[in-house]
Point group: C2
Chain length 363, copies 2
Amino acid sequence: MELDRRTMLAGATMLAAGAGRAAAPQRKLGYAIVGLGVYGLGVISPQFANCRSSRLVAYVSGDRDKARAAAAKYGVPERSIYSYAEFDRIRDNPDIDIVYVCLPNSMHAEYVIRAAKAGKHVMCEKPMAVSVAECEAMIAACKAANRKLMIGYRCHFEAFNLEATRLARAGAAGKIRYVRSEHGFVQTNPEAWRLKRALSGGGSLMDMGVYSLQAARYMTGEEPVAVTARESTDRSDPRFHEVEDIIDWTLEFPSGAIGSCQSMYSANQNHILLMGDKGRIELEPGTRYNGNRMWLGKDGREQEIINPPPGPGPTQWAGQLDHLVDCIRSNREPIVSGAEGLRDMRIVEAIYRSAREGRTVRL
Amino acid sequence: MELDRRTMLAGATMLAAGAGRAAAPQRKLGYAIVGLGVYGLGVISPQFANCRSSRLVAYVSGDRDKARAAAAKYGVPERSIYSYAEFDRIRDNPDIDIVYVCLPNSMHAEYVIRAAKAGKHVMCEKPMAVSVAECEAMIAACKAANRKLMIGYRCHFEAFNLEATRLARAGAAGKIRYVRSEHGFVQTNPEAWRLKRALSGGGSLMDMGVYSLQAARYMTGEEPVAVTARESTDRSDPRFHEVEDIIDWTLEFPSGAIGSCQSMYSANQNHILLMGDKGRIELEPGTRYNGNRMWLGKDGREQEIINPPPGPGPTQWAGQLDHLVDCIRSNREPIVSGAEGLRDMRIVEAIYRSAREGRTVRL
């Protein structure tokens, strides 16, 4: 009986790891976090405690005191703290299997490419980069180094979004006609790097807009064929001297479904709505770290889905971090690979172009 | 004491009637309903029972049996039933003060103009007509005849919409940045007149889209300066051989606020959301006959407004019907006059043009 239970658990572990090999416990793969901002330090670092196959082994930071304090807190050895100048030495650290790039957007390409050249697999925060050309160079560098590249699209590992996508594919709303996705928050700090074009590459679209775009794509399961966008920014507002505030865009999908998306830095919103000819699936908030809610309805929010099936990990980030480990071990492409980041960036460029030129842009 | 109470009641009646004259009880003004479809017969006819100053006195219909049955039900005398061929004889019926045009859209202009020429004031269902040129002709005809012209925008008399508008003006959401308005339903009858271009002048935009456009305008209190629109219609669907299904449009307002609006005939929705930098005001459903709901929130629907202050009448239609009477008596323009209908039609034409040409149209 005891043996049987052990065998079953080992089988479950093997399946969970996506590995077809024997069930000997595998070494957790080691992540180096590059960039100790709010996300890398405050959000990602604590998540390794929830991981099955991933552990935190190194930090790359421009602030050695901050890195030391974080290293002490999360058990990262002193020898595995690097400055940006020392970055390429990560190649000599066998603890590091994966580099997680949590830097401002315009630095993604450089550090992803350097990580691949140092022989490391890469997790890169969204947006993948600030241009299609950069995305293509990143994909090429990882391919040349035979390293995996995954984009930090955490919502692909989040229980409500997974269940919403499953329900949409299962026809819970009928034939899909329309998806709405709105994401924004009130930027209060005019000094935020996200408001500096040289670092962010753009405004709300490069930040919350990526959630809106992603949701429109995974909820419909389609790739848009055209985009029509409008921007509205008060350039006299000190926050918006360099980047856009509101951007609103319409996606046309091959099925005839329409995606109406938006992002902004001047109001709070977090909403995904899928409309079909038989009903609707709605999330609000839809892509938050915690507290997402979801409804099925005919006309409104008739039925709340309180407990969707759990995602692949105990948290969306644990699922995300372990997925890359699983892909490395089984030599599969991540479900949100560099190709997925590039798809978004092509659309992002088209959105900006459409807004600038005041006309529909075909993709 | 009794005298005092009577005096106060008379004063209240006088104020309610918008009249500055003596408090002798006034004759209710008489409406003739033209067109005994779902709206004229099923929705408007029963509403006179709720009116303070309006009564139903005549019917114009192509179906004499239907008109007779309705006349019996609502106390309309047999002599005040007219066929369309007999329409111009309404001039000789002193009971008729106002003609309420509830016909298919493409017939509005003709019957409004004939009503004015017959010396009657006019209530015209929305959309006002099927073109700007028609709207201008209707306004000119009513002006030449010195008759009032009002459009049947019932939401201007509906308690939730009035309270939402009041809250928006009072700054309850802060600086207005974004308004969303979506209206649609599943058209199930391919034979509906709304799907015949010769009668409707267009698809969902000419029907539910007018609610979306109106809400964007009254919630912001601004007039759009540009519109960018996209249409999506499955022309192989037997319902949509002649008119559009989905149309999605973005309005740019002078303040920098954006309106993201939509209408469709292939999914049910009825939603108004106003976003500001301090919060939001949301209605869902927002413009139904009954059961509208409303919330104030920071991020979501934190606070439901259960009992907004009552509108001007016991129902939105009673408020609407009596408003025109009040305007006639006090020689004021209705708050939703022909000029208001014309404003919408100019935007409707720009929406269609933008969708057709794939570019932003300035207004």
